[in-house]
Amino acid sequence: MGNQPGQRIDVCARAATRERAEDGVATQAPIESVLITNKLTKNFGSVVAVDHIDLDIRRGEIFGFLGPNGAGKSTTIRMLLGLIRPTSGSASIFGKDMRKYGNEIRRGIGYLPGELALYENLSARQYFEYTAALYGVDNIDFALAISDRLKISDLDASIGSLSQGNKQKVGIVQALLHKPALVILDEPTNALDPLMRHELYEILLLARDEGMTVFFSSHVLAEAERICDRVAIIREGQLIRVGRVDELKETAPKRLLVRFAEPVEPQSFADLAGVTKVGPGKDGRVELMVRENLDEVLRVVTQHQIVDFDAQDLSLEEIFLGYYETEGDASVDLAEALDLEPRELAVEQS
């Protein structure tokens, strides 16, 4: 269903915890939810950066927080960490209200900022020692093990002399070194080469298997598709979709690309039930977006002589773009296929 600001999106996961967090009695929230936000909102003057966001992140999942730059991802994360105050709404982490128990909560959180800046006069080793000391742990060996896996070039050189990629690796290690229950990574693969991205994915998957919860913001859809259990899509400060990656893909339409032996008018398929879009594809093909009733659509299509046929699932990126394209029929139809209300469509189109 469509989601107006503040409307609940992921009802099954939210359970009765919302009201408890709202009342500031968040300590009684079910243990399954590691992070819950309740109508979290942030205004900067007249600009609404984050608009009534409801999130529910569960223990042991990798949760992707997807949106382009400026959508409100980093602002949401900074509110979750207590770096900025919400204009309204609340957030509870580990069942405790963030504003009341900030320091206690932060002990269990690892954080990698999107715009990473480190103390450039320190070496990576010094930085890890300092970070570990602030968390009150002695996990240097663990930090060194991750560093080794990420192949940080020189742990004793000043951070200022490291490449951007190596700085990003240092940032990743400092977020993980105290083995936090929840790690919040804001665009973690920035500046990493493909091999190191793969290594980071492996580390995060391993961390999840050991019970760590990963909250992961990104605008790179391929990585979210690869490692996230669930994703939320944020657009102009509003959550417009939350769900499992496979659910999103399942509920998205299938793309059929058909090349006929004789010219066929694409619009002749437009009235078929379940067809959300038709039009000319590449190389003289006809493209159909089919959300349901595939059997009947295929029956009609095969009444014509077919030279070539291809059926495709939409990638998460295409689904994602469906929410962001503000012009063109494809986005409208795709959004319709994803169960958005006409009213919300109107908002998106505006």
Binding site: S74, T75, R78, L81, G82, L83, I84, R85, N103, E104, R106, R107, I109, Y111, P113, E115, L116, A117, L118, Y119, N121, L122, Q126, E129, Y130, T131, A133, L134, Y135, G136, Q174
Partner: protein
């Protein structure tokens, strides 16, 4: 080695403190050491001045033409400004500087309360300031001792060391500006403006007496200006500066607690 914000701040300050220690120790030593060579010139200069002007320069006219007067003009009247340069550099860097450098967000994401971060930074800066004042004092005393200047060395030491209450005031005020303002540049400019204005105001009151009523609201009014070399210490003034420093530090805690980390 770096076990907390205090030790990390000390580590960051080490070269700055060392530079000020070497520079001010050498400067204080040199200024006092050459006194026997310039004593006559100093006496002639002050003797030719209007008494009010001499008072503006040496603070206490009784010091004119004496080693105390010379040291007052050449060293002690500038000592708080030397200290101000150090304090404005490091206090503006403490919060606003970290925010500018984008390291503040990561620091505040650690499980360390903001009051503790600011207190540990203040403590480290205070320690750095004390080391610098100690070097300034040592330089002056060493210069006087080696050159055989006819002056009470303990009183000279106390006179130089009385820059500390002024430093405590500026430490508090500087941290307040750093916690309140969004950028290091703004925080440093505000603190510098207040110090310079207060210094100029205090100097001007010797000539423009109508300004005296305003002077008491500014820190240099309470600075000792070398007085301990001839008169008892005004502990009230010391207390006022220290208290004002603590009040500004408390305001800095409030401002830092309410601060939103820039994107």
């Amino acid at each position: 080695m770096m076990q907390n914000v205090f030790t990390k701040t000390l580590y960051d300050l080490r070269w700055t403190v060392l530079a000020f220690v070497v520079g001010l120790l050498g400067l204080a030593f040199f200024i006092v050491y050459i006194y026997p060579s310039v004593a006559n010139a100093q006496g002639n200069m002050l003797g030719g001045l209007d008494p009010e002007a001499a008072k503006a320069l040496v603070g206490n006219v009784a010091l004119a033409g004496t080693p105390e007067g010379y040291i007052n003009i050449q060293l002690i009247s500038f000592a708080p400004l030397f200290l101000a340069v150090f304090l404005i550099i490091v206090t503006s860097a403490a919060i606003a500087g970290e925010d500018d450098a984008k390291t503040l967000g990561t620091l505040l994401a650690r499980p360390v309360p903001r009051w503790r971060i600011l207190s540990e930074k203040a403590l480290a800066i205070c320690l750095g300031m004390l080391v610098i004042v100690a070097a300034l004092t040592a330089g002056a005393v060493l210069g006087a001792w080696i050159a055989g200047v006819d002056i009470s060395l303990p009183k000279l030491a106390v006179a130089v060391a009385l820059t500390v209450p002024f430093g405590i005031w500026l430490l508090g005020f500087g941290l307040f500006c750093s916690a309140l303002f969004g950028s290091r540049m703004v925080a440093a400019l505000i603190a510098t403006g207040v110090v310079v204005f207060s210094y100029m105001l205090n100097s001007s009151t010797e000539f423009v007496h109508s300004l005296e009523q305003y002077n008491r609201f500014w820190p240099f009014y309470y600075y000792a200006w070398g007085q301990p070399m001839t008169d008892p210490i005004k502990w009230v003034n010391v207390g006022v500066l220290c208290l004002a420093g603590l009040i500004f530090f408390a305001l800095a805690l409030v401002a830092f607690h309410r601060r939103e980390v820039s994107g």
